[in-house]
Amino acid sequence: MFLTKLALKNLIRHRNRTLITACIIAAAVFLYLIFDSLIAGMTDMSYDTLIDYETGHLQIVHRDYWAEEEKLPLEDLLSLEELATLSQVDGEVARSPELAFPARLSNGMNELPVVGKGIIPDEFLRIFPLEDKFVAGSMFALGEYKAVMGKRLADLLDLQVGDFITLLVRDKNETFNTIEAEIGGLIHTINANVNQNVVYVPLDIAGHALAVPEKVSKVIIKLEDKNGAPRIAREIEARLPAKIGAYPWNELEAITFAGAKNAGIMVMTTILLVIAAIAIVNTVILAALERMGEIGMMKAMGLQEKELIYLFVTESVGIGILGGLAGVLLGLIGVALLVRIGIDWSAQTGVDMSSFGIPVLGTMYGSWNPLAFLRIFCFSLIVSFFASIPPAYWAAAKDPIEAIEYR
């Protein structure tokens, strides 16, 4: 008890050192919390971006197609007639069939590889909120030889509303075919893939050109609550033939890919933690070295090695608690500001962040992650604890005279 009291007294006695070390720990904790909040916010936004513009909450797909989806095959498609028998499920808001196909987009001068999507416009717009994303023109109607694409893609080929494009496709028999269409509308969303790689055409025109009339790659479903997707997927599967599967949003490839990207970001966060740990260790070691003379004096007065180590570790953990708490408090304020106000990157940098595939248009918001607060507080304590042991051992093992005359 005496040693614990001494350790606490030491913390107050060496006020400046305690404050500086605690400040460094607090800064590391604060930076981690801000970074974590921004990453979590971006993850939420990227999931929402994919769900809102590409995947929906749930997809009905032929199981064999699912395995080959990346290649956008024209095999194992779903029959619209067959799907018409599937009645609405509880919690379903809307559904939209989609026929996806690889294509080469030509403006008569140059070509670009794109993904074509045959859609039923009314049903599509009930799932994906694109109405207010049109920067020019409007959505086409079924049967019209018109196309809608991202403004960025149109800019790449110097296209405008009213221009004619050719989509070169291969039909079900692997024979080349073309879809000649007028550009009906240009959109700009926060989804970089939709902006740069996708051309929408009416489903009937696409089906005819690809020699797969009345067939679709998938049916996309929007739900009232995205968290209900796994349960509703199971319900739908029970009503469908075994060859057809219902896949909730969290199992979709685009989402898992986004998850993998986030795993990469988590690696970066870990590196940030390691850097923070090094800063803490460095500060604690320096503080110990600074007190060599004091250690020698205490040893000369009869303090045993294990008592010295206990003293050191207690002081270090005390600093860790102080720094951790201060960091968490600052983090609470910072994250609260991020969640409420956010950061407008485009205003800060003058650059549209969605150009880089970052799903941000306008302001980027943070997200609350209570686990991160707990994690970083414990982390700062553990690092302070372990960081203090080696220098304490080293100093305690020294001869008292050597320690006193260390400098």
């Binding site: 690889p102 080469r104 030509s106 070509e111 590889p113 028999n173 024979t175 075919n177 073309t178």
Partner: protein
């Protein structure tokens, strides 16, 4: 009696007319003869590909080996030296020496121009005889580049997987070489035009030595393909068309 003589004369006229038609070649026979000239079973060749894109001109040289359904192309120009393409049946692989990477070209990648040329990978994949893939009809006769030609139209045979639904060919009436070919999508859109600029008699067959391909979905581009040397039915080592040989 006069009536009988009249009928006899009519009969003779009809017989003569029939014989005259029989002497004319059918569309299938014309294409078969063209295939006989242009279709290669086994060959090795040195060739040059000149890709013209607006004002930019890129020349690539290559040696190639073909044996039935298999083919190997090795680029020899300094920039692409060691880049190889291997076709085995319906599969196509590419090897980049710098990356030491073997890539299988499949799906929509096959629609892209080979090494930036106007020939798509799919174009080099189709090695079947035209008579096996298309139903041809004779549209008429025309003179092209000073040569009398048959004009034929080929429509994809039912059940056959072909890249181009329709092709219109100008085939030399005497040498049975295709001087020009227009390749169409199923929608009727003209996609590519290939013209033969120079032919050569090698042994008993005529063979196109210089061709120009134009992708009609792009402007101001064309690819010239020039055969510098070709040998038919050479001895090709058995392991030429293996993936191990590609690395």
């Amino acid at each position: 009696m006069k009536r009988l003589i009249g009928l006899f004369l009519c009969f003779l006229f009809l017989v003569h007319l029939g014989a005259a038609f029989a002497a004319e070649l059918t569309a299938e026979e014309i294409i078969r003869r063209r295939d006989h000239n242009e279709y290669v079973n086994t060959a090795s060749a040195e060739a040059e590909m000149i890709i013209v894109n607006n004002n930019r001109k890129t020349t690539k040289t290559m040696v190639s080996y073909a044996d039935e359904d298999n083919g190997l192309v090795i680029f020899t120009n300094p920039r692409d030296r060691g880049t190889k393409f291997l076709k085995r049946g319906d599969d196509l692989w590419m090897f980049f020496p710098d990356a030491e990477e073997l890539i299988k070209i499949s799906g929509h990648m096959l629609n892209q121009g080979m090494m930036g040329s106007d020939f798509s990978y799919q174009d080099i994949m189709e090695s079947d005889k035209l008579t096996d893939l298309y139903d041809f009809t004779l549209l008429g006769e025309e003179e092209l580049n000073g040569r009398p030609c048959y004009v034929l139209e080929g429509i994809a045979a039912p059940g056959k997987e072909v890249s181009y639904y329709r092709r219109k060919s100008w085939v030399d009436k005497e040498k049975f070489i295709g001087w020009k070919e227009e390749l169409y999508a199923r929608s009727g859109r003209l996609l590519k035009v290939m013209e033969t600029k120079r032919i050569e008699q090698i042994g008993e067959r005529w063979y196109p030595m210089e061709m120009v391909m134009e992708d009609k979905l792009r402007k101001n581009t064309r690819t010239e393909f020039i055969v510098r040397a070709i040998e038919f039915n050479p001895e090709i080592p058995a392991d030429t068309f293996t993936l191990e040989n590609l690395r």
